[in-house]
């Protein structure tokens, strides 16, 4: 019975993964399909990868996106985790309000936030006599991190409902240095939430179009900007090709990470 149940559970997870990967597989499939209009039947061809190899702008856009997303992930995960720890660990006045303040960045459509940000940065820049400062890498990062923070705080918060403050105190009482307490007690508790939050922060930035679109200097572009601004005219399966490469590389990296690095916090007594 138990074995049967476990088989069913594995099957269920596999089905969920199939659902999640169905459009990804379709995306990859059409990267290898000759028709520029995603027509069927399928005809294998590498023409879109060849076109991509010669498309410097798209490749540069892809790199820009990766770097921005990485920098965003580091900053947003750090700051967001700190705030989530404060929410999990302490009860204080204004906490509910501060948590409620996380809703506007998610609830208000990005186009509205992006427009507000663009105009606001412009005003600030103009009033300090440097209108040019409204655009650039720093402005993009400011915007991406701000939009990622609520996600990080929510995700890490899901882990910290019951913050074992007593454990930290116990460790400190037993003579651990603050660094040891942090490394041996706090980090393991936080780890799964932080890893998940970082993955989401990366995703938020990697798919963020409006902010980069408004705040990137002319001539600089990111992958989402390339995709969304090309939609009027239409995008070719080159987009599928580059997306497929990104997913394939990320999958490889992630599986390597999963192989060597346990962040899941293995439960005791299972092995």
């Amino acid at each position: 019975m138990r074995r049967f149940l476990d088989g069913g559970i594995r099957l269920y997870l596999v089905l969920v993964l199939i659902f999640l990967y169905l459009p990804i597989l379709v995306m990859a499939l059409f990267a290898f399909n000759r028709s520029p209009l995603y027509g069927l039947p399928f005809e294998f061809d590498l023409v879109w990868f060849e076109a991509l190899a010669g498309n410097k702008r798209l490749l540069q856009a892809g790199w820009n996106s990766v770097w921005i997303a990485l920098a965003n992930t580091v900053i947003a995960t750090t700051l967001g985790t700190m705030a989530a720890v404060a929410f999990g660990r302490y009860t204080f006045r204004g906490k509910t309000l501060m948590q409620a303040l996380l809703f506007p960045p998610i609830a208000i459509p990005w186009l509205v936030i992006g427009t507000a940000m663009l105009v606001f940065f412009f005003w600030v820049g103009r009033s300090v006599g440097a209108p040019g400062m409204a655009r650039g890498l720093h402005a993009i990062l400011l915007g991406h991190v701000a939009l990622s923070l609520p996600y990080v705080i929510f995700v890490v918060g899901a882990r910290l409902n019951d913050y074992p403050k007593a454990l930290e105190e116990a460790a400190a009482t037993l003579g651990a240095t603050p660094w040891q307490v942090f490394r041996r007690v706090s980090v393991p508790i936080l780890a799964p939430g932080v890893v998940a939050a970082a993955l989401f922060a990366f995703a938020v930035s990697f798919d963020q179009f409006v902010i980069s679109y408004f705040l990137a200097p002319p001539g600089v572009t990111t992958l989402p900007v390339e995709i969304y601004t090309s939609i009027r005219k239409g995008f070719t399966p080159e987009i599928n090709a580059i997306s497929t490469i990104i997913i394939a590389v990320s999958m490889g990296l992630m599986l390597v990470v999963a192989r060597f690095y346990r962040f899941g916090g293995e439960r005791s007594g299972n092995e």
């Binding site: 520029p36 540069q60 663009l118 019951d162 679109y213 916090g265």
Partner: protein, 370 residues
């Protein structure tokens, strides 16, 4: 709450590992910002603001322009005319050349975000079709604010597999035999303009809004879906999601010639939407001289004859149109005065009109969704 967290046997983050990881990231970030740090190079660059993939960013054109003038062309894009205005307003003195639709050029000059153009610096100016070149919407206070570049129409495309003969009337969209086979663009101005044409009204300033609403609501049984981009349109058409649709002329020729789709195109006897795009120069453009040069190249026959291979809209340059090979089907179509005479050209709209059109369309779409 009584939950207790287990955290044993977690691989510790050693200090050495942390330092190694952090320095790798730092290095990576350093490499990554490279493309963002741009030299100030006002006199060797022309900054263009346009739709993506709309002529000015053809790689061969940029190479030819660079070879002729030594100037690099850098692009920024907009996704709607209103965003174009926003970008101009919040980035004063950034852009040299801006592609402006005839209905928006006046708004831009009124807001002071584009500057007058010296037509004596545009060597091809004399070859431009006077009906566009001298149009009132491209100038203000007797000064020229836009050089007419390309024009086109928004009329009706149909599947030649389904229709053996080209339809002639706009009423084909409401034909009861085409239930769930019609497509329109999800665009308030376009939808309202078409309904105005179908109800015999002035497309830009229709008097009877209720009639328009009623006409659009009557579209419901025939509507298969709404398209949002040319790409979307091609994919839907290829999948046979609809048989007849309101569509852009340049796109229709591209669908037919580039993608070999069975597309036919006609201008209804009742009329259709005409539009044209101009090239403008931003206020305090960092390189106004280069901007004039780029505009001159953009309206040249040389540029258009090569661009014609990918299926652009019609050129505002008469020589360029007449220079097209007779084998190009768009030549006869655009030069056919019967077609051109039926068009109503898009005029600047007031904010109130724009809002009214948007509200009509929102209300109609809400009924469609019910």
């Amino acid at each position: 709450m009584t939950g207790k967290t287990n955290y044993r046997r977690f691989a510790p983050v050693t200090r050495r590992r942390f330092v190694a990881g952090a320095s790798t990231l730092g290095l990576a970030a350093g490499l990554g910002v490279g493309p963002f740090i741009r030299r100030a190079s006002a006199n060797t660059e022309v900054k263009v603001l346009n739709w993506q993939g709309y002529g000015t960013d053809e790689p061969w054109a940029l190479e030819a322009f660079k070879a002729a003038t030594g100037l690099d062309v850098v692009h920024d894009y907009y996704n709607s005319e209103s965003e174009m205005i926003t970008k101009l307003q919040t980035n004063p003195g950034t852009y040299d050349v801006i592609v402006t639709n005839s209905a928006w050029n006046g708004r831009a000059s009124e807001l002071g975000v584009i500057q007058p153009i010296d037509s004596s610096l545009i060597s091809n100016f004399a070859d431009l079709n006077p009906s566009f070149r001298d149009s009132a919407v491209l100038s203000a206070d007797g000064k020229l604010y836009g050089v007419s570049w390309v024009w086109g129409m928004t009329a009706i495309a149909y599947s030649t597999d389904v229709f053996k003969e080209a339809p002639t009337s706009v009423e084909i969209l409401w034909d009861p035999s085409l239930a769930k086979r019609v497509c329109v663009r999800d665009d308030a101005i376009e939808a309202v303009s078409f309904a105005a044409i179908a109800t015999g009204q002035d497309m830009n300033h229709p008097a009877d809004h209720d009639k328009i609403k009623e006409k659009l609501l009557a579209l419901k049984p025939n509507l298969a879906t709404m398209w949002s981009s040319e790409d979307d349109w091609n994919k839907q058409f290829q999948a046979k999601a609809f048989d007849v649709s309101i569509y852009w002329s340049g796109s229709a020729f591209r669908s037919k010639n580039t993608f070999n789709l069975p597309v036919g195109y006609f201008v209804p006897t009742e009329g259709a939407i005409g539009w044209f795009d101009g090239l403008a120069i931003g206020t305090d453009a960092p390189n106004a001289e280069g901007a004039h040069k780029f505009i001159d190249y953009m309206v040249s026959q040389e540029f258009y004859s090569k661009w014609a291979e990918v299926g652009p809209p019609a050129s505002a340059n008469n020589k360029a149109m007449e220079g097209l090979p007779d084998s190009d089907p768009s030549k006869a179509f655009y030069l056919d005065q019967e077609n051109v005479k039926r068009l109503q050209f898009m005029a600047p709209l007031s904010d109130k009109e724009r809002q009214d059109f948007s509200d009509i369309w929102a209300e109609v779409k809400t009924e469609f969704a019910k």
